[in-house]
C-alpha cells in the first residue's frame, strides 16, 4: 500500500520538492544579505538617530520575493487541500478504481489509512518546511514590522501553517469522499477552508488566551483622532487612539472620562474651528481622560502558535478519523 501511495503521489511530491528547492535557493541567496543589512543599519540606528530611514531601506529590499513569500504562505495550505486532498478518494471513485484497489488482499481500512497518513504527512512536511524557510528569511522584516502577532503575518510564520495544511488536506479528502467528484470537491474545499480561516482569524484567535487590559491616563502621544461626533452626539468630543505597544496585537481601545464614562462631554472651546491644534491638545490633557486598551502582548506569539496549530491538527484528526470510518463502513 505504501508503494502504491508513493507511485500515485510521485509526481505531486516531486513538484512540491522542486518548488520548495527553488524557493529555498532564492531565500539562501538573498537571506544572508538581509540579515547583514539589518545588523549594520537597523540594529545600530539608535546611535545615529536615523531609524526611520534604515527601516524604510530594509523594508523595501527584495519586494518581489517578499510578496511571493506572502502569496505562497497564503495559498499553499489551500492548494494542498484542493490538489492533494480532494482528489485522493474522489478520483478513485470517479474512475471506479476503488473496485480494483479494494479487491486486492488489503483491507480498505488500511488502504485509506495509508493514503491519508502518507499524503497527510507530506502535506504537513511541505507546509512546515515552507514556513521554516519563510520565517527565517522574513525575520529581519518582522523585527521592524508590527510584530508577529499581526494577523497579516501570524498565520504565515512558525508552526501554524503545519496545522492549516493538515486541516486543508483532511478537509479535501472528506469533501472528495462525500461528494464523490473531484472538481466540485475542490470548490467546496476552498470555500470551507477560507471560511474557517477567516472565522478563526477574526473571531476565535484573539480569545484563545484571555487578553490583557491596560488602563491608564490618556497617553497624548497615542492620540490619532480628535473631533466632534462622539457617543453623545454631534457636538460631543471624540478621541481616537492608536496604541503603540511594541509587538502587541491590539483588540480594542477606548477613551473614557476620569469617572470611567464613555461620554466625554462637549467639545472644549479650545478645539473650536478657529483655535490651534496645540491649544486643543492642551485643553484635552487638562480633562484628565483615561484610556483602556485590550491587547495580546507580543510575547504570546508562540503560545498562540501552539494553540492554533493544536486546534487545526485536532480538526484534521477528527476529519481523518471520519474518513477511515466512512470508507470502512459506509462507502461503496
Amino acid at each position: 500500500m505504501i508503494w502504491l501511495t508513493w507511485r500515485q503521489f510521485r509526481v505531486q511530491t516531486l513538484v512540491a520538492a522542486g518548488a520548495l528547492a527553488l524557493l529555498a535557493l532564492a531565500f539562501a541567496v538573498t537571506g544572508p544579505q538581509l540579515v547583514h543589512l539589518y545588523d549594520t543599519t537597523v540594529a545600530t540606528c539608535r546611535a545615529q538617530h536615523d531609524c526611520q530611514i534604515a527601516m524604510n531601506a530594509l523594508g523595501s529590499k527584495d519586494n518581489l520575493l517578499q510578496d511571493l513569500a506572502r502569496l505562497v504562505m497564503l495559498v499553499v495550505p489551500a492548494l494542498i487541500g484542493i490538489f492533494w486532498g480532494a482528489p485522493l478518494i474522489a478520483r478513485e471513485l470517479e474512475a471506479g478504481t476503488q473496485r480494483l484497489a479494494w479487491t486486492q488482499s488489503v483491507t480498505r481500512g488500511r488502504w485509506v489509512a495509508v493514503k491519508l497518513g502518507l499524503v497527510g504527512l507530506a502535506s504537513m512536511a511541505t507546509a512546515g518546511l515552507l514556513s521554516l524557510m519563510v520565517t527565517w528569511w522574513s525575520s529581519p522584516f518582522d523585527r521592524i514590522g508590527a510584530g508577529r502577532l499581526d494577523p497579516a503575518i501570524f498565520g504565515e510564520r512558525g508552526i501554524a501553517p503545519v496545522g492549516y495544511a493538515a486541516f486543508a488536506f483532511a478537509l479535501g479528502v472528506t469533501a472528495g469522499m462525500l461528494i464523490r467528484r473531484t472538481v466540485p470537491a475542490m470548490a467546496v474545499t476552498l470555500a470551507v477552508f477560507a471560511a474557517v480561516q477567516a472565522a478563526f482569524e477574526l473571531r476565535i484567535r484573539f480569545h484563545l488566551i484571555p487578553p490583557l487590559r491596560l488602563e491608564s491616563a490618556l497617553n497624548m502621544n497615542w492620540v490619532t483622532q480628535l473631533g466632534s461626533g462622539g457617543p453623545a452626539g454631534l457636538g460631543s468630543l471624540f478621541v481616537g487612539i492608536s496604541p503603540t505597544l511594541p509587538g502587541a496585537w491590539i483588540g480594542s481601545s477606548q477613551v473614557t472620562t476620569a469617572a470611567g464614562q464613555t461620554n466625554l462631554g462637549p467639545m472644549p472651546p479650545a478645539c473650536g474651528p478657529n483655535s490651534s491644534y496645540s491649544s486643543c491638545i492642551a485643553a484635552i490633557s487638562r480633562m484628565h481622560l483615561r484610556q483602556a486598551v485590550i491587547y495580546q502582548p507580543g510575547s504570546r506569539f508562540w503560545a498562540f502558535q501552539w494553540y492554533e496549530t493544536a486546534i487545526y491538527l485536532a480538526l484534521a484528526a477528527v476529519l481523518a478519523g471520519f474518513c477511515v470510518w466512512w470508507v470502512r463502513r459506509r462507502l461503496s
Binding site: M1, L4, A95, T97, R99, T103, S105, T107
Partner: protein, 296 residues
C-alpha cells in the same frame, strides 16, 4: 466446500431503491458459472456483495463457506474483475503488476509476467492508452495472478469487440483449466456465456428464474412444434416454459425429465439463448412463480 456462493433472502437497498431483494441462490464449486439477466436485474449488486465491496441490507451471503471478504486472508481468496475493467490510467502495465505484487501476499509474478508477454502488452505502456480489450486482459491478469480460489467477473466482455471478446474468454478458459478455480461470470449476452460456462443462473428482478448445469438444462428442455393445440392438455410431467401459436401451429418450450413420445410433436433441442430468453420473458406474468432449480 460444495458451494462458492450461497445467498439467502439477500437484499441491498440504495436510499429508497432496492437494487437486489430477497435473492436466494447457490453456486456450486469447481464450475464456470454464468450469471445472466437483463440490465438492472441486480447482477452487479450481487457480485459486489460477493466481493465485499457492498454490505447487504438484508439476508445472508456466504462466499467460499465464510462471510464475504473483509480481512486480508479472505480478500486473497477472491479475485474480481469489475465492470468496465477499471485500471489506473496513468500507471503503466508494469506498475499494475508491481501493484499486484505489493498488495497480494500470494502474488504469482511468473504467471503475471507470462500472461502479459503472451498477450503482447508493452510493460511500459500506460493503462490509459490500452485498448478496451487490452485493459480487460490486464485486469484479468491482476485477478488471476492473485491466485484466488474464486474468480468473479462482472460483465468483463461487455464493452469489447467480438474478436477481443473471444480472446478474453479463451484466456479465461485456459486459466481455469490450469488453476482449478471456480468462476462466476456475469453477462447479459447468452452467447458469451454459452462458450465458456458449464453452469447457468438466470436472474430476473433479483429472482433466480433458472439455475443448473448447462448440459442438464439443454437435455431437459425441448422445443415442440406441431398442430395448434392448448398447452394445458400436455402430460403433467411436461412443464411449459413458453408457448407461441400461429393459426395452425403451436410452438412450445417445455421442461421434462422424460422423453417426449407424442407423435404429434416435432421435438428438437433448444438453444441456450432461446432457453434463457424463454425464462426471462416469463417474469411479469402474475400468478406464476416460475422459480425453478434443475439439479442433478
Amino acid at each position: 466446500m460444495t458451494t462458492v456462493l450461497q445467498t439467502r433472502g439477500l437484499g441491498k437497498r440504495y436510499r429508497r431503491r432496492w437494487a437486489l431483494s430477497d435473492c436466494t441462490l447457490e453456486i456450486p464449486a469447481g464450475r464456470i458459472a454464468g450469471l445472466v439477466g437483463p440490465n438492472g436485474a441486480g447482477k452487479t449488486t450481487l457480485l459486489h456483495l460477493a466481493t465485499g465491496l457492498l454490505r447487504p441490507t438484508t439476508g445472508t451471503i456466504e462466499v467460499l463457506g465464510g462471510p464475504p471478504p473483509a480481512r486480508p486472508a479472505q480478500l486473497a481468496r477472491v479475485g474480481f474483475v469489475a465492470q468496465d475493467t477499471p485500471t489506473y490510467a496513468h500507471l503503466t502495465v508494469a506498475d499494475h503488476l508491481r501493484l499486484g505484487a505489493h498488495l497480494n501476499p500470494g502474488w504469482d509474478a511468473a504467471t503475471a509476467r507470462d500472461r502479459i508477454e503472451h498477450l503482447g502488452l508493452d510493460p511500459g505502456q500506460r493503462a490509459g492508452k490500452l485498448s478496451g480489450g487490452q485493459r480487460a486482459q490486464l485486469a484479468l491478469t491482476l485477478a488471476i495472478a492473485k491466485r484466488p480460489e474464486l474468480l468473479i467477473l462482472d460483465e468483463p466482455v461487455a464493452s469489447l469487440d467480438p474478436l477481443a471478446r473471444r480472446e478474453f474468454l479463451r484466456g479465461l478458459m485456459e486459466t481455469v483449466v490450469d488453476q482449478e478455480l471456480s468462476v462466476v461470470l456475469s453477462s447479459h449476452l447468452v452467447a458469451d456465456l454459452e462458450r465458456v460456462c458449464d453452469y447457468l443462473i438466470v436472474l430476473v428482478g433479483s429472482r433466480v428464474q433458472l439455475a443448473g448445469e448447462v448440459d442438464r438444462l439443454l437435455a431437459t428442455h425441448h422445443l415442440l412444434t406441431g398442430p395448434r393445440r392448448n398447452p394445458g392438455t400436455l402430460p403433467a410431467s411436461q412443464h411449459v416454459i413458453s408457448a407461441s401459436h400461429t393459426d395452425r401451429q403451436t410452438t412450445l418450450i417445455v421442461r421434462t425429465d422424460a422423453a417426449v413420445h407424442d407423435p404429434a410433436w416435432t421435438v428438437s433441442p433448444v438453444g441456450l439463448e432461446d432457453l434463457v430468453l424463454a425464462y426471462m420473458s416469463q417474469t411479469g406474468q402474475p400468478g406464476r412463480r416460475p422459480v425453478l432449480e434443475v439439479q442433478r
